[in-house]
Subunit: 187 residues, 2 copies
DNA sequence: TTTGCTTTTTGATATTTGTCAAAAATTATT
DNA sequence: AATAATTTTTGACAAATATCAAAAAGCAAA
């Protein structure tokens, strides 16, 4: 919980009142490798904070699993599309390792926004950061070669390569597993 | 101005007070084809609402102009990365047509957030929509073929194809102009 | 440690897309 | 209307990546 609150106050400072409200709003849960936080077709009712562990988001396309993101310690996790629109998710969220998470429901989030403007303010700032991060990833994905993407990943997020099977990384980068294997052998 | 306020209240309803504050915060400007809203290296100090006209964002890579987004009527335009971080922009924003815009400064936006929580609330919701939109575009860009991307564009945003030179569309889709030309000839 | 299961690598080949150069078509300017 | 400038198309070829199949390596369970 301490980690979660620290992470939140990195975005913006919070009053004691707001901190207290947040403390009472998250519930701790513990899940195991291969468990699902969300399955395709379900509506995402919860936002999770990943204190420990690793998750991946994937969807099924032509009988294949396409992993399109990973989350690790201190990340917020959910199907944002489903959580925001309350429509069925197209993706699955699965644990790649045993994980400790803090869980909050959509309704609780909405209530917190109503009761504590400073929390909505904080989330507005968090959204900006998340938006920029997505924009960067998008530009990279579109305009860099597979080798450049791998180098980037190696330099900036090498922990991903150590904790995640190669096949997942390949689809995360948008390339085939064989190509990634060949690229890697050249380094 | 009426259009701008309508567009805003599509995200969330606003009180008379907030509407009035907004009315006093935007300034109308008129610019011409090939003018720049922002050049690479500048810090984006303004957010624009495009009432009429069309803009593109592009950056320079290996001596080429890479167009990575377009904006048309009723879109908000800026280099979000630069506007949010107040760091120099990597992209240029140029008018593709004569345009009528409503302009607001970063400081004014910040002040409005402080004075009217409902405006920050509205923007929080707007961010969610923008985030989802970017996510969709990202997933498409990464996992669809050039032909599928063109078909999508044709079905969902055919106005883009009519108003924008082919070369810009090609780099928007992340493919070469020659490839796009060949795809198009097959339809 | 042996056996079975999963993941990764390797080889051969096919497909997609890019690049370069030139021609054709379109648009703008005088 | 003629000329110039820009944009789009076409062709030939090269490069990058995907696909399929099989071997090798790694890991887990009995």
């Amino acid at each position: 919980m301490k980690i979660l609150l620290e992470q939140l106050t990195n975005y913006a400072p919070l009053s004691e009142v707001a901190l207290h409200a947040l403390k009472n709003s998250f519930e701790k849960i513990s899940l195991y490798k291969n468990d699902y936080l969300l399955k395709e077709g379900q509506i995402s009712k919860h936002l999770y904070f990943l204190e420990k562990g690793a998750t991946r988001g994937y969807y099924n396309l032509d009988g294949k699993q396409i992993t399109h993101w990973f989350n690790f310690e201190n990340d917020f996790v959910t199907s944002f599309h489903s959580f925001i629109t309350q429509k069925p998710a197209v993706e699955n969220i699965q644990l790649m390792e045993h994980a400790v998470l803090w869980c909050i429901s959509k309704e609780t989030v909405t209530d917190l926004f109503k009761q504590h403007h400073e929390i909505e303010h904080l989330v507005r700032i968090a959204y900006e950061k998340y938006y920029i991060r997505l924009e960067e990833r998008f530009v990279n994905a579109q305009f860099k070669t597979a080798t450049e993407l791998y180098e980037n990943l190696l330099q900036q997020h090498s922990h991903i390569l150590e904790r995640v099977p190669l096949g997942f990384v390949a689809s995360y980068l948008g390339i085939s597993q064989e190509t990634l294997s060949r690229i890697r052998s050249k380094f």
